[in-house]
């Protein structure tokens, strides 16, 4: 890149926003190389951050449109928050794992790579948003909407991997590093997304809270599955019902459960 162009980019990190966003989509290898070489990172990071927030907000708003009203605003706020918080928590882990596995990157490189991957992923979500909105507004069911949204997330994840894997060029530790990054990101992302539920919000619910009460987590579900595999079956709902009614009444779904947002065994909770 010429000095004149660098001066132009230095003027404002947002000046070259369209170019950088196009690069995120079209040239993941070039983006990954720039991250590693720490080349013009402010403009790349700014574009990636804008893409992350805008894409995730649009997708979140569409998710919220399933219920409509305030849930649109809540969804548009919560999806970007979940993504940015996940990045903030995952980046130190990425840095430490990369260093331990032989990649002596600077924190700037790690932040830029993570932001770029998230930005590309969010742009895919942005592209998927109109299709999801059309499906939702055409009367798609709650569960089908959730499945389609999950597919869009999966596509976004694949797009993010495009940058991340190219950032890990060569070396015998490429696979372990990639697997470590993916595991860390999904664990943290899963937990962050979990605590910020609901996103869709069932229309049958009288009131959808901005954030549901703390009831289980990604890790809790792993523990629950492990206990179930050895014949120990337990349920947060069952415990709550026992406390509320004074007896074990797992198949009964009281109206108050709907308003409190408790998930039932049949999966009727808010998502």
């Amino acid at each position: 890149m010429s000095t004149a162009t660098e001066t132009k980019h230095d003027a404002s990190p947002f000046a070259s926003l369209p170019t950088e966003i196009a690069l995120l989509l079209r040239n993941p290898a070039g983006v990954a190389r720039r991250c590693r070489d720490e080349e013009r990172l402010p403009s790349l990071a700014a574009a990636a951050l804008v893409a992350t927030i805008a894409g995730a907000a649009a997708f979140g708003g569409v998710l919220g449109s399933f219920r409509g009203g305030a849930q649109i605003v809540a969804g548009a706020a919560k999806v970007p928050i979940a993504l940015v918080v996940t990045l903030a928590i995952a980046v130190p882990a990425f840095y430490a794992l990369a260093s331990a596995l032989g990649r002596m990157w600077s924190m700037r490189t790690v932040v830029a790579l993570a932001l770029s991957a998230a930005g590309r992923s969010s742009l895919v979500l942005l592209a998927a948003a109109p299709a999801l909105w059309l499906a939702v507004s055409s009367g798609l069911s709650y569960h089908s909407s959730a499945v389609i949204a999950s597919l869009a997330y999966a596509l976004g994840g694949l797009a993010a991997l495009g940058i991340l894997l190219r950032g890990l060029d060569g070396g015998v530790s490429k696979l372990p590093t990639a697997l470590a990054f993916i595991a860390v990101f999904f664990a943290i992302g899963g937990q962050t997304a979990w605590i910020l539920r609901p996103y869709l919000g069932r229309p049958t619910l009288a009131d959808v809270p901005f954030i549901r009460a703390n009831e289980g987590s990604f890790a809790d579900s792993v523990v629950k599955s492990m206990r179930s595999s050895v014949g120990i079956y337990d349920s947060v709902e069952a415990e709550w019902l026992e406390e509320a009614n004074g007896h074990d009444d797992r198949d009964t779904e009281s109206p108050s459960m709907e308003t409190r947002g408790h998930a039932s065994k049949r999966g009727r909770g808010t998502r």
Binding site: P92, S99, W105, G171, W194, I195, G216
Partner: protein
């Protein structure tokens, strides 16, 4: 764990004199950088190959830095209980690293000396300090995630499980670095010493795992399945 390129293949000529020692065992993308641009991770994990001359003071500082970073993880997992549990966990997390370094490694040095292995005390200290730094760095990196799970998991089992996972990952990476460093140090020995040294290193690895498991299970209240048990 730096297995990208053999050390002798690195462009040493491109490295300034000050950074030569620290750069001989780092990844290719970092090796071309001078000392002023070395990352924190590169400085902390440093060089552990045969070309570098270890300094006891530097290795002691590196080891202490590893312990300090590990204590951040303890603080994170102690956030669930709060209060004195913060301090207990902050002291408990580095305890296994300290015990392996202070109790296990001297014994291991005696065994290596009996075998007449070409690994002197200073070299072993260098390998150990880098392993401790690796464990500490990974634990510190995972600390924010550990705090998230500790605070937001509804069951204590889930919080303990995620805390344990972080310890396992960091411990495995640190132990891996220790064994790779030892294997490099033994590379110049005759084949019989090398084979014996590898077997003894594997035995030391098992001892380190058992010692770490024993200490972490007793010194970390966050791993207890009973709320407020300690």
């Amino acid at each position: 764990m730096h297995a990208h390129v053999p050390d002798h293949a690195l462009p040493v000529s491109a490295i300034t004199e000050d950074s030569r020692e620290a750069a001989v065992d780092v990844a290719p993308q970092e090796s071309a950088l001078d000392a002023s641009t070395q990352t924190l991770g590169a400085r902390l994990l440093g060089a552990d190959d045969a070309h570098a001359t270890p300094s006891l003071v530097r290795e002691a500082i590196r080891f202490a830095a590893g312990l300090g970073l590990a204590s951040l993880y303890g603080l994170a997992i102690g956030a669930r209980d709060g209060g004195t549990a913060l301090l207990e966990n902050a002291l408990g997390a580095p305890s296994a690293v300290l015990a392996v370094g202070a109790l296990g490694v001297p014994s291991f040095a005696i065994v290596l000396a009996l075998m007449n292995a070409p690994v002197d005390g200073l070299r072993l200290a260098a390998v150990t300090s880098r392993a401790a730094a690796t464990t500490g760095l990974v634990l510190a990196g995972l600390a924010p995630a550990a705090a998230l799970f500790a605070v937001t998991s509804s069951s204590r089992e889930a919080a303990a499980l995620t805390a344990l996972l972080g310890l396992l990952v960091a411990g495995a990476l640190g132990l891996g670095r220790l064994l790779v460093g030892l294997s490099r140090a033994l590379a110049g020995a005759d084949s019989a010493t090398r084979i014996l040294g590898t077997a003894v290193s594997a035995g030391f690895g098992l001892f380190a795992i058992a010692l770490a498991a024993r200490l972490w299970s007793t010194a970390l209240p966050a791993l207890s399945l009973i709320e407020g048990a300690r």
